[in-house]
Amino acid sequence: MQKTILTVDDSRAMRDMLRHSLMAAGFKVLQADDGLHGLELLETEMPDVIVTDINMPRMDGFGFIEAVRAHESRRAVPVLVLTTEVDIDKKQRAKEAGATGWIVKPFDPARLVEAIRRVSS
């Protein structure tokens, strides 16, 4: 079954990059340009994995992950954080918010795909 990935990033270049890499790996890709937009999409869609950025306008990655986890039905969705942040505090916050994994940009598409496969299998 084709898996659906929701990517949440405010940079269009990054979203394009993710879509390009993930579609090439055979995933269906949904895109949101910040946390609030991501939540809107989650009203109607249920992705298999979520990949989110941290620094975004309107609603950042922490708020987004918390909101995702706040919903019973979305507890099981793996959320990978894809960010340029290397700050351990931030990573801890992401973990506390309920992130499944943490990937530091620049990402290697093959390894991102691998990470997604791992958390979604």
């Binding site: 269009r12 270049a13 394009d16 390009h20 990937i103 620049p106 093959a110 691998e114 791992r118």
Partner: protein, 695 residues
């Protein structure tokens, strides 16, 4: 375009936007009107650029963005105060960041020394404070022995040893020995088999966990032995999988932990319950986002081209219908009129797509003013007006440099020092005003200062010294003022770093002229100078006068025409150098026979049989152009000569008339200049023929 190139382009477009936000935000911070969100937005801008730059391995950009971001993060978190010196550094850093982005985009190189000096400054302000990120507990350098033997599955999952080794190398010094002893004979070699073992000695100040993390994804698909060559490994630091800034790392949080700490059960609506101000701001941003779309400039230009063709075709059709002798009230003629109307509207709408407010250029000026003021020790206030005035994108892009130069000049040469100003009874702070407005179908930009005005005695003396004018030349005040536009002219006694960068006002004049614009100056001693740029709103259409010269149809840009005349033989006087002048209201204006100037004809037409157009070129140079007749006035679509033929002296561009014939658009300035050192040419006639065949 291949997808990666397209994504790269998107990234650079985003960079431009981020740089704009960065600058705007920093300026707000400088004015003291920044809100917390502004500081966040500024941080995010640099952060996004860094993130994107990482994807495309733009290392120089990543490195600089990183130190920049570190400083911003400290401002954001309140660890560092946004004091004037800090803001000054941040503003300069924004400039450098823009340079680096541009260099990356165009494949050029930014000024490395400048970048390095800013990095040093950043390190200075960043040091002495606690580091923004809690540094991982330093571990002494240790030696690790790693024996790595991939299994075929590892390769089947698109993993590569080289990538893993590269990751490992980021941790420290590494020696690799390949053990290929299991490699069979070629005949027995399985193409998808795995036969190699790598023995790696790594010297790094990291934990075993960090080393293992490199193999995180492949450890199930390989034999992996990691041993420590030196004893006494310090306590493991949880989550210390750290690679370089630029490095990839992935950490899989143990799922157990996630379950141990069930997410709190906040009200789902909590997210939406934000303070109303934020909500409003967010709504406004949302609106701004949905109200615009991003379109490739190529597509817009293609459309402009097509609309140009449409306009020409419509004109041709009208002509045919007219020739067919249909009555004006006939259905065809009326429908045609409607079509003409629509075509014009489409044309205007399409042109409006390329139009942008001059704000983007104006916004760059406050910083420039600040810099130049600091360098010259002058106090300057910049006043801008008409930032919303819209003009063609290309005009905007090309006007930035000339404006830059004019503002530098206004501060450096125009304004006096605070002491002099006070002595002259003026406020110590000088004013430079930058204004934009629409005036009779053109955009007018004014740069004015309230300085000392042009020092005419010095200008004249300099011009004589430089051999620009003769020692006994009698010049009016206006003519003296206009001397500064001549090539090689500079009044600064020493070439200053500010305005004497090898470019003078003549370069400004040339770049303005290249845009179909004109520049003029008005100066009052003791009160200041005003430079006025007049530019066409668009570079795609032109209002022109259709004239005939020796059987050829020519277009003279309407903007250059002052008036039309019917000369009398009694007012024409020949000069020794073969040029005729026309007496006009007490003055004398040189006459140019257009047909002769363009090489259509050898013989001059009789002025009394001709129509004369008084034109004014750049620098206020005037002449009377003689043509056979005037056919009317119309808007023409500009077709580049360079793109379809080649540049022709005396001709600015070409267009296609309603009857399908090519008409050349006269380059009035070139013709006026050529008139001084008269050289006849046949080039325009040839260009016309070639184009006629091509179209």
């Amino acid at each position: 375009m291949d997808p990666m190139a397209a994504i790269r382009e998107t990234f650079f477009q985003e960079c431009e936007e981020q740089l704009g936000e960065l600058e705007a935000g920093l300026l707000l911070m400088e004015n003291g009107t920044a809100e917390a969100e502004t500081v966040n937005a500024v941080f995010r801008a640099v952060h996004s650029i860094k993130g994107g730059a990482g994807i495309f391995a733009l290392d120089a950009l990543v490195r600089f963005a990183h130190v920049f971001e570190t400083a911003l993060d400290r401002v954001r978190s309140g660890q560092m105060e946004a004091s004037p010196p800090v803001l000054n550094l941040l503003l300069r850093a924004a400039d450098v960041l823009a340079d680096l982005v541009r260099a990356a985009r165009e494949g050029g190189v930014a000024d490395a020394a400048h970048v390095a000096s800013l990095v040093v400054e950043f390190n200075q302000i960043n040091s002495g404070a606690k580091p923004p990120a809690p540094a991982p507990i330093p571990t002494p350098v240790q030696q690790w022995e790693i024996i790595f033997t991939p299994r075929p599955e590892l390769y089947a999952k698109a993993n590569e040893t080289a990538l893993l080794l590269r990751e490992l190398q980021r941790l420290g010094e590494m020696r690799v020995v390949l053990n290929a002893s299991r490699l069979p004979e070629l005949a027995e070699l399985e193409p998808e088999g795995a036969y190699l073992t790598w023995c790696i000695t790594l010297e790094a100040d990291c934990t075993a966990q960090a080393v293992r993390a490199v193999f995180e994804f492949v450890e199930d698909d390989c034999e992996l032995e990691i041993t420590q060559a030196l004893p006494a490994e310090p306590a493991l630091v949880p989550g210390s999988i750290i690679t370089g800034d630029n490095g990839f790392s992935f950490e899989f949080f143990p799922p157990v932990e996630a379950e141990e700490e069930p997410a709190p059960e906040p009200e789902p609506a909590r997210v939406v319950q934000k303070p109303p101000t934020q909500e409003v701001a967010a709504a406004a941003r949302e609106e701004a986002r949905t109200a615009t779309i991003r379109v490739d400039l190529d597509r817009v230009d293609r459309m402009i081209d097509l609309v140009g063709e449409l306009v020409i075709n419509e004109a041709m059709l009208s002509q045919r219908v007219l020739e067919a002798g249909l009555a004006r009230a006939s259905g065809v003629a009326m429908a045609l009129e409607e079509l003409e109307h629509l075509t014009r509207e489409i044309q205007d709408s399409v042109m409006a797509i390329r139009a942008q407010p001059v704000r983007s250029v104006f916004q760059r000026m406050p910083r420039l003013v600040r810099e130049v003021a600091a360098q010259t020790g002058k106090q300057v206030r910049l006043v801008t007006e008409g930032e919303g005035t819209e003009v063609d994108k290309t005009v905007i892009e090309r006007i930035a440099d000339p404006l830059n130069h004019m503002i530098r000049n206004a501060i450096d040469h125009g304004l006096e020092s605070p002491e002099k100003r006070l002595a002259a009874g003026k406020p110590a702070e000088g004013q430079v005003k930058l204004a934009a407005m629409h005036r009779s179908g053109r955009i007018v930009l004014e740069v004015s200062d309230d300085g000392g005005g042009i020092n005419r005695a010095r200008v004249k003396q300099k011009a004589i010294e430089n051999g620009v004018i003769g020692p006994d030349a009698q010049l009016s005040d206006d003519e003296i003022d206009n001397l500064i536009f001549l090539p090689g002219f500079s009044t600064a006694s020493t070439i200053s770093d500010i305005s004497g960068r090898g470019v003078g006002m003549d370069v400004v004049r040339q770049s303005v002229a290249a845009l179909g614009g004109r520049i003029s100056i008005a100066s009052k001693p003791g009160l200041g100078s005003t430079f006025t740029l007049s530019l066409p709103l668009t570079l795609a259409v032109l209002d022109g006068m259709v004239v005939a010269a020796c059987g050829h149809i020519l277009i003279i840009p309407l903007g250059t025409i002052v008036e039309t005349l019917k000369p009398k033989a009694a007012d024409v006087f020949p000069l020794d150098n073969g040029i005729n002048v026309l007496r006009l209201r007490g003055g004398y204006v040189p006459m140019v026979d257009v047909a002769v100037a363009l090489g259509y004809s050898e013989r001059r037409i009789d002025p009394e049989q001709s129509v004369a157009l008084l034109v004014e070129g750049e620098g206020g140079l005037r002449a009377v152009l003689l043509v056979d007749a005037i056919h009317g006035q119309r808007q023409v679509v500009i077709k580049s000569l360079e793109a379809n033929y080649r540049a022709v002296p005396g001709i600015a561009a070409a267009t296609v008339m309603g009857d399908g014939r090519v008409a050349l658009i006269l380059d009035v300035d070139a013709v006026l200049r050529n008139n001084r050192n008269e050289t006849a040419r046949a080039e325009p006639a040839r260009a016309e023929l070639t184009l006629q065949e091509a179209i």
